[in-house]
């Protein structure tokens, strides 16, 4: 029973060893030529021009949350679409209900004015 999990254990060990090597080796054998840009906390090739901690309009938050909701909805439809031939009418009706419930949520946020920027 427990032997079934052996591959999983091996995977964990391999992952840990790989991570350890990736962290330790560069500090041992890598060249070190520090400059200002390289010593930024996040080295992205861009020089930061302002502090990251600043206020931003709360509308962004609204848009992001709504995006996630309706994005997940579409993700949910992929496996359903693949199996639609086998699910037949039953699957179609079930997805209809799923979309109906989401649509009610959509109408709600729309009428509440969540899509208006101001």
């Amino acid at each position: 029973m427990m032997i079934d999990y052996l591959p999983l254990l091996i995977l964990f060990v391999v992952a840990a060893v790989f991570a350890a090597i990736a962290i330790i080796m560069p500090s041992l054998i890598g060249p070190k030529n520090p400059n200002k840009m390289k010593q930024e906390p996040i080295e992205s090739g861009m020089i930061p021009f302002t502090d990251a901690r600043q206020r931003f309009p709360v509308q962004y938050y609204m848009v992001a949350v709504l995006f996630i909701l309706f994005d997940i909805e579409v993700v949910f439809m992929y496996p359903w679409a693949v199996l639609l031939n086998k699910l037949k009418v039953f699957g179609l009706i079930e997805m209809g209900f799923f979309l109906l419930i989401l649509l009610i949520g959509y109408v709600y946020v729309w009428r509440k004015g969540a899509f208006e920027w101001d």
């Binding site: 039953f90 419930i101 009610i104 109408v107 709600y108 009428r111």
Partner: protein
């Protein structure tokens, strides 16, 4: 590929409540009352109430017919039907309390009633789940809805604190629950309670899994030592929500606990001792802490902890004897506790920003001001204390009787001592109402609205009738319990 067969008659009441919740969500956009007003709130509440009544009718119509479906994940037996009825009763009473309470402090009426109905759905599903993942999902449905409802009074700091505490601790306990489910799955290879009962090894995995599930349940039931959130949350939440969740969550979690324990795969001797100790701790701590409270809602919160302890005595007594007693107690508790909260909601000072919490002093001289209301409140409190011939007395009688019959004599004695202790703080409020003069600390919201009056009247009649017809009603519930224990 085999398509799952779905018998929708198993979940008719739930479907009705879900449909109502969706209608309620859109109701505020329809018609002339587009702007927030008490009238609009009443209209939405009426739709929600109709949905609850329809669902209750569907539940009653299903009595006597047991069916398992949705791939064996849900069962509609009489136990589940009665649980639905308790939850719907508590929800309807709580809704009547919110009728005039809600428009006083918020403009978000659709949201309140939609979330409220979804919490109801979660509780109903929880009591009918026969599979751990379904159980977990329904637990989350009810929890998430209640987290939001707890913080609904946005102008108050206490409400925000309560919602955050409830959310963080609730999420933590959910993690315990799902970890327990995972261990049981690891032990048996299935999340269905039937399979777990058949295949559980009874070894370390089973015990650890069951213990973790018990922590999750203990949190929802507010069992000591998992009760820390209860006073703050009950105090910070709007009073109608407190009234509803103190009964509904307990009912759903107790029935689900019975289902899990029946399938535990661990001997009765093992888990009953743990539950007996938890019951002792819960009763004693709840009652002792309630003695020291000066806020009415906090006092009732600790009293609800104590009552969870009494009901745990019934769980300890086992399926045959304890279950019908616990079911009876849940009905009695729904009437008397929501009734008491209804009167408390009238003692709170209205206002958006001001603290609304009612202290015990607010009840001063209530008898001189509103004699009938004082008498009714006294009856609710006496019933909670367990004075005959009220519903609460018979509830405790049956619980202690079940304990004695199954050999837990010391537990019954602890329960009785606790009842005596609890009488002190219930009577303290009664004495304040009847034997002191009204002064500047006393308060009563007036005039008494029809909806609140109706809720109090229903709770009152229920408390009295359950006391008078206790025997026949217990027999009725006993049949459901027997059908469950025998299955």
């Amino acid at each position: 590929m085999n398509l799952p067969h779905i018998d929708f008659s198993v979940i008719t009441p739930e479907l009705i409540v879900i449909a109502t919740a969706l209608v309620v969500m859109l109701a505020e956009f329809v018609g002339a009352h587009a702007t927030p007003s008490p009238t609009r709130s009443h209209r939405i509440a009426l739709i929600a109430l109709l949905g609850l009544v329809l669902a209750a009718l569907a539940a009653v119509a299903g009595l006597g017919r047991a069916a398992t479906d949705i791939q064996g994940m849900l069962v509609a037996d009489d136990l589940g039907r009665y649980l639905e009825l308790v939850v719907l009763l508590a929800a309807a009473l709580g809704l009547l309390l919110a009728w005039d309470y809600l428009p006083q402090f918020t403009k978000m009426h659709s949201e309140y009633y939609a979330l409220y109905l979804l919490a109801v759905v979660g509780m109903m599903f929880m009591g009918k789940s026969t599979e751990l993942i379904t159980l977990f999902v329904s637990l989350e449905i009810l929890s998430v809805a209640l987290y939001v409802l707890t913080g609904f009074h946005r102008g108050q700091l206490a409400a925000g604190e309560a919602a955050l505490k409830y959310f963080l601790l609730g999420a933590f306990s959910s993690a315990f629950f799902i970890y327990g489910a995972a261990l049981l799955y690891g032990d048996t290879g299935s999340t269905h309670l039937v399979d777990i009962a058949a295949r559980a090894s009874g070894g370390f995995l089973t015990l650890a899994g069951l213990a973790l599930l018990l922590v999750g349940f203990g949190f929802k039931l507010a069992v000591v030592p998992f009760h820390m959130w209860t006073p703050d949350v009950y105090q910070g939440a709007p009073t109608p929500v407190t009234a509803f969740m103190s009964v509904g969550t307990k009912a759903a979690a107790f029935v689900a606990l019975f289902r899990v324990l029946q399938a535990a795969g661990v001997s009765y001797a093992t888990w009953s001792l743990v539950l007996a100790l938890l019951a002792t701790l819960t009763m004693t701590w709840g009652n002792l802490a309630a003695l020291r409270q000066s806020s009415l809602k906090r006092m009732l919160a600790y009293s609800s902890i104590a009552h969870a302890g009494y009901m745990l005595i019934g769980v300890t007594a086992g399926m045959q004897l304890g279950l019908s007693a616990v079911l009876f107690y849940l009905f009695a508790y729904a009437f008397m506790n929501i009734g008491a909260f209804a009167v408390v909601s009238l003692l709170e000072r209205p206002g958006y920003h001001a603290t609304q919490d009612a202290t015990i002093d607010a009840a001063r001289g209530l008898f001189a001001r509103k004699p009938l209301l004082a008498v009714v409140m006294a009856i609710f409190l006496l019933s909670l204390a367990g004075v005959p011939p009220l519903a609460g007395f018979f509830g405790k009688l049956y619980l202690f009787n079940a304990a004695v019959q199954s050999g837990w004599i010391w537990l019954a004695i602890v329960g009785m001592i606790n009842s005596v202790v609890s009488a002190y703080y219930y009577l303290r409020v009664t004495v304040l109402m009847f034997m002191t003069e009204a002064d500047e600390t006393s308060f009563l919201r007036s005039p008494l609205s029809n909806a609140t009056g109706l809720a109090i009247a229903v709770a009152m009649v229920g408390t009295l009738l359950l006391g008078i017809f206790a025997g026949p009603w217990l027999q009725q519930l006993g049949q459901a319990a027997l059908a469950f224990a025998g299955s």
